[in-house]
Every structure is written in structure tokens, then in C-alpha cells.
């Protein structure tokens, strides 16, 4: 079976020390993502793990073409996203949605939850009536564990965990094939983060979703991922099935990362 997503030799560099005061002659280019290639199969969870500044968020955003890569290719459903424009790009984009880290910054505080969740429909299914959009929104909210009353309320009335559920509902309302989740639980309390991880797992089964899961946390990634790619300095230094990477890491940096995770002693029973 051909992969859902193929990333080939993706690269992005920025000018270091740029800005209005920069001395053009002296500026250097800083490579944020350096020749990254991988494939994600339909229905799997592919995790990209790395420390801050490793380029994982830049990589995720290039795949959605929220950042334009310098070079490379992103093959999704048979076409190269980087070569598309206009209507063709929009048609592919509805198949790929994003869940963000900060549930406080990623929801417009002046929009009602119903408008937030249904907003993708106004772009991609413009012919739907408002009543139909709200009905779809209510259905999606129920599916992520919020009741219909949420439609008419504002984001500030919800806790962090509930807001993340709203963000998930918004991402799934178009029934995308690929969901890019950038640190979806790192802003949440442990007890609530586990709820969101379980919800993501359930939704994956129900809607046959493929996840590209970006995180700094190996323990979090372990819970969902089928494959892990470890990123450092813009490069993928190790990629493999989750069990293999955790049990037999081949790269020294992966071993360092694993060794740095503070482990909780496990009770013999419970």
C-alpha cells in the first residue's frame, strides 16, 4: 500500500541575525530543517520527537504548507502539495488539519464555540446553511465529550482540557485524513492530558485518522505512536517502530534522551 504522506528532502533555512539592522554581507543562513525524508502510512501515528529548537514545529508547518520550504517535496494523496495552488491546494488542505499546543491562544476569544468549530465548514462547504453547520458542530462537540450547550458559549468559559477538545472538534469537522498534532497535551495537567490522549486514540479508530504527532516528551509519544522519528539540529537522526526505538535505540542521542526521562517507580501490583 502506498503511504498517505511522503516527505522528501525537505529543507528550510533562515537568515540568522536578520532584520532591519542586519548587515547583508555578514548574515549567515541557519538551517532549521535539513534534508528530512520520511513516509507515513494510512492509519498510523508517526511521532516526531525532539528538544526545543530542533526544527520539529517548522517541519510540521511545512507539511501543511503554512511555511514555504526552500526545497523538497510533500506528497499527499498522490500529488505534490508544494506544486499546487488555489482550488487544488484548498481541496487537499481540507484533508489535513492541525491541533495546536496552547488551547488558550488557538481559539479566538471573541467567537462563540459553535462558530469556532464550524468555521472550517464556511470555507470548505460554503453552501451549507448556518443551521446545518451548527448541527454538524454540535455533533462533533458531542463526539469529543462536550454537550450541545457549548455551542453558544465563549472559549474563556472552558477549562484547558475542554478547550483542547474544542480545538480537536474544529480539526475533525471536515473529516480529514491526516491530523498534525503539535504538542497537544503539554499545556495540560497530567490527569486531563491523559483524557485528551485517550480521546485522540478513540477518534483515530472511529474516523480512520492518520496522526503526525509532534512532541518533546518521549513518555507521551510512547502512548500513541506506531513509529518514532528523533529529530536533532534539523535532521532526523533515528526513525523506526516505537518498540524498536525505545528498546534498542541505535543513535547515542536517542539513548541520552531516553536516559534523561525521570522514571516513576512502578508498584509490583496495582
Amino acid at each position: 500500500m502506498s503511504p498517505l504522506l511522503t516527505v522528501k528532502n525537505l529543507r528550510k533555512s533562515y537568515v540568522r541575525g536578520g532584520g532591519v539592522l542586519a548587515n547583508e554581507g555578514k548574515s549567515q543562513r541557519f538551517v532549521a530543517v535539513d534534508d528530512v525524508s520520511f513516509e507515513v502510512a494510512q492509519g498510523e501515528t508517526f511521532a516526531i520527537v525532539g528538544e526545543s529548537g530542533c526544527g520539529k514545529t517548522t517541519l510540521a508547518r511545512m507539511i501543511l504548507r503554512l511555511i514555504e520550504p526552500d526545497q523538497g517535496a510533500v506528497l499527499f494523496g498522490g500529488s505534490d502539495l508544494l506544486k499546487l495552488s488555489g482550488a487544488e491546494l484548498r481541496a487537499q488542505r481540507r484533508q489535513m488539519q492541525m491541533i495546536f499546543q496552547d488551547p488558550f491562544a488557538s481559539l479566538d476569544p471573541r467567537m462563540r464555540v459553535g462558530e469556532i468549530v464550524a468555521e472550517p465548514l464556511t470555507i470548505h462547504e460554503a453552501r451549507l446553511s448556518k443551521a446545518d453547520r451548527m448541527a454538524r458542530g454540535a455533533e462533533m462537540l458531542r463526539r469529543v465529550g462536550l454537550d450541545e450547550g457549548a455551542l453558544r458559549r465563549y472559549p474563556h468559559e472552558f477549562s484547558g482540557g475542554q478547550r483542547q477538545r474544542i480545538g480537536i472538534a474544529r480539526a475533525l469537522i471536515l473529516r480529514p485524513k491526516l491530523v498534525v498534532a503539535d504538542e497537544p497535551v503539554s499545556a495540560l495537567d497530567v490527569s486531563v492530558g491523559a483524557q485528551v490522549l485517550l480521546l485522540l486514540k478513540e477518534l483515530q479508530r472511529e474516523f480512520q485518522l492518520t496522526y503526525l504527532f509532534i512532541s518533546h516528551s518521549l513518555p507521551v509519544v510512547t502512548q500513541l505512536a506506531s513509529h518514532i522519528a528523533v529529530m536533532r539540529g534539523g535532521k532526523l537522526i533515528e526513525t523506526g517502530p516505537v518498540e524498536r526505538v525505545l528498546r534498542q535505540p541505535s543513535h547515542a542521542y536517542t539513548r541520552d534522551l531516553l536516559a534523561a526521562v525521570p522514571e516513576i517507580p512502578q508498584a509490583s501490583q496495582v
Binding site: S52, S191, D256
Partner: protein, 365 residues
């Protein structure tokens, strides 16, 4: 064994607060500490009847989720509560090393007892001028995000010197320089002479946290409060900072109060752990016992919800952390608890200790 200390307040029968048989050597004893704050929605109690103790050279982990009151507790220990906050209960800060050292093993004699009594102070009710001799000098604190705690337009060395001069204004040039370098060496800041001349933005997150630690330790405090000191750092840097704190605790005989939401961090460095929920300590005991044989359903729930490197079925705790303005009459965890029964909703459970060093606030015990 030590009635001379006990007589100053009425005994409440709570072993963590009033049983001094074991802990004459404690540096910090918090008894029934309560903090109340006025909010738009009325008075809330972010710290409610908290009793804890901490000895020199010991690390106590304080674990809780957002809104549990762990940061308010630490601010109360520093006398830094928001204006209008009300504090009840006691915070006894012990005498310094002279009285402490020889009391550890042997029976305290009249002399050491007298010193301990003379120098032990209740921080609750101190006036602002008195706080200045305690805050930073005897109790220091480091925070989650070193970038927001450091002054961006001041060189690192000058900021550390400022911390020393605040408490010892007469210290001279050479002595000051020596103290600066010692503090930076304690914090294991590489190339201290160079770093002292740099500004915070020139340092990485890990080095900035080391600079904060140097600043906190420069006035030679005996108690260090670390509030989520590694939450903003990468795991590999977190490991180094935790190892540094642990070494400093040992070498300087610091009492370390480590506030965190991460049970893994607690497991790595703490001797004992106190779990806080909705303003109260719901469980306290030695780290290994609490993490492997948790007594309180909340602690059990946190452990079951914490991701580890094992792929396993995570069990989230249903619901969310309660608002302090809207706490139930009984146990605050009851609405999320799978063992809830009638009596849970009637009154807040007592703190019970089935073992002398391990207890919890739950009717099941």
C-alpha cells in the same frame, strides 16, 4: 521529649505538626497554615490547613496540578502573598547550624534546647522589615522561567552581586568577588568570569537557570524553594539541573522544597513527597512508599494517568480540577473519585497515618 518547644502552642494531636519527638532538627515546620485571598467571586482558600516539616539536607517534593495551591504555599513561605491575603497558622523556621548540628543524633541537652528556642521564629505575622532579613537571606526561591526572573539589562555577575549586597551591604570588593565566584561555582556555571560579564539573553535556558541558582545561593540561605525549576527546560537539561540541585542539597546541607507537577521529577530527587489537591495536603510520605503504594485515590489516579516509557493503558482521572470558589463541602476530590461514598460528602476527611511516616486525607484509610 521536647516539651519546652511544645508548650508554646496547644497540641493538636497531628503528628506532622505537633509531635516534636523526632524532629528537633527540623529547619522548617509548617503547622495548620491557611492562606486566604479575596477574589471577585469572594474569599478563596488556596492553602488550607497545611502541615509539613523539612530538615536540613532533605528534599521534600510538593506535587499538585494547576490550582492545587502549591505556588501560593511557597509564596506564603517567602512572605510574598498578594496584598490583602490573610495567613493563619504557623511557619516555624529553625535556628541556624550551630544549634542544629549536635541535636541530630543525641538527646538534646538544655543548652541546645535553649538556643533552638531562642532562635526559632514564627514567620507568620512578621513585619515587612523583618521579612527582609528572611526572604532571600534564609529562604531563597527559584522559578520556572529564568528569563522572566532575571533582569534583561543587567549583567549576570552584577545581578548575583546585588543578591549578596542586599543582605550584606558592607561586604568589600575582593570579598564580594570571591562570594560571586563561589556562588557561580556552586551552580556549576562554566567559565564564571566570562558568564559574569554576559547578559541573560546570551545564555541558554539551562545556563540561565544555573545563574538563578547562583543568585539564590549567594546569600547562603538554608532553605531553597524551587518552583517548577525544570518545567521550561528540555529533558537532557532538566536532568543536569536536577542533579545539580541534589548535589547542592547534600554539599551545602540545604533544605530543598521542590514544587512540581511531574511525579518523575519527584521520584528522581525527593526524599519525601506531599501531594496537594485543592489547597490541602492529601497524602504525605517517603517517595518510594507514596509512588508505589499510594494511599489516596488522587495519588493513585495521578500515577495511572502519568505517561511513562511503557506502552500501557493510561487511566485518566475523570472531570477536572475544581475551582477554589466552588469547592464541595466534604472531600474536594470526591466528585472525581471512583471510591466515593456517603461520608465523603459530609466533611473533609481527617489526615490519617496508618504508618508513622506515611498518611493521607481519605476515609478509606
Amino acid at each position: 521529649m521536647t516539651p519546652s518547644i511544645n508548650h508554646r502552642r496547644k497540641s493538636c494531636g497531628d503528628a506532622r505538626c505537633c509531635d516534636y519527638d523526632l524532629d528537633v532538627s527540623d529547619l522548617l515546620r509548617i503547622g495548620h497554615l491557611t492562606v486566604q485571598l479575596a477574589t471577585a467571586a469572594g474569599w478563596v482558600t488556596p492553602v488550607n490547613d497545611v502541615s509539613l516539616r523539612l530538615a536540613p539536607g532533605e528534599t521534600l517534593g510538593l506535587v499538585g496540578e494547576s490550582g492545587s495551591g502549591k505556588t501560593m504555599l511557597s509564596l506564603a513561605l517567602m512572605g510574598l502573598l498578594p496584598p490583602g491575603g490573610k495567613v493563619g497558622g504557623e511557619i516555624w523556621l529553625g535556628s541556624d547550624g550551630t544549634a542544629r548540628g549536635n541535636q541530630k543524633k543525641e538527646e538534646p541537652n538544655a543548652e541546645t534546647q535553649r538556643i533552638a528556642e531562642a532562635e526559632e521564629r514564627n514567620l507568620v505575622g512578621l513585619r515587612e522589615e523583618e521579612w527582609r532579613g528572611v526572604r532571600g537571606r534564609e529562604i531563597a526561591m527559584i522559578f520556572q522561567e529564568p528569563m522572566t526572573s532575571l533582569n534583561p539589562v543587567m549583567r549576570i555577575g552584577a545581578q548575583i552581586e546585588e543578591a549578596i549586597l542586599a543582605h550584606e551591604p558592607k561586604i568589600g570588593g575582593d570579598a564580594l568577588q570571591l562570594r560571586l565566584l563561589t556562588a557561580m561555582e556552586h551552580a556549576a556555571l562554566p567559565e564564571p568570569e566570562t558568564r559574569a560579564q554576559q547578559f541573560p539573553h546570551q545564555l541558554s535556558g539551562g545556563l540561565r537557570q544555573r545563574a538563578m541558582i547562583a543568585m539564590a545561593l549567594a546569600p547562603k540561605p538554608r532553605l531553597l524553594i524551587a518552583d517548577e525549576p525544570t518545567t521550561a527546560l528540555d529533558v537532557t537539561v532538566q536532568k543536569q539541573i536536577l542533579e545539580l540541585l541534589d548535589r547542592l542539597r547534600r554539599e551545602l546541607e540545604l533544605a530543598l522544597l521542590l514544587i512540581t507537577h511531574d511525579l518523575g521529577v519527584v521520584a528522581k530527587v525527593a526524599d519525601r513527597v506531599a501531594v496537594m489537591y485543592a489547597g490541602r495536603i492529601v497524602e504525605e510520605g517517603p517517595v518510594r512508599k507514596v509512588l508505589t503504594f499510594p494511599q489516596h485515590p488522587y495519588t493513585q489516579g495521578l500515577l495511572a494517568a502519568s505517561p511513562t516509557l511503557e506502552k500501557r493503558a493510561l487511566k485518566p482521572i475523570p472531570g477536572s480540577v475544581p475551582q477554589l470558589t466552588d469547592l464541595p463541602a466534604g472531600c474536594a476530590f470526591a466528585p472525581r473519585c471512583s471510591f466515593r461514598r456517603g461520608e465523603c460528602d459530609k466533611a473533609v476527611p481527617e489526615f490519617r497515618q496508618p504508618e508513622p511516616d506515611h498518611g493521607a486525607r481519605c476515609v478509606l484509610i
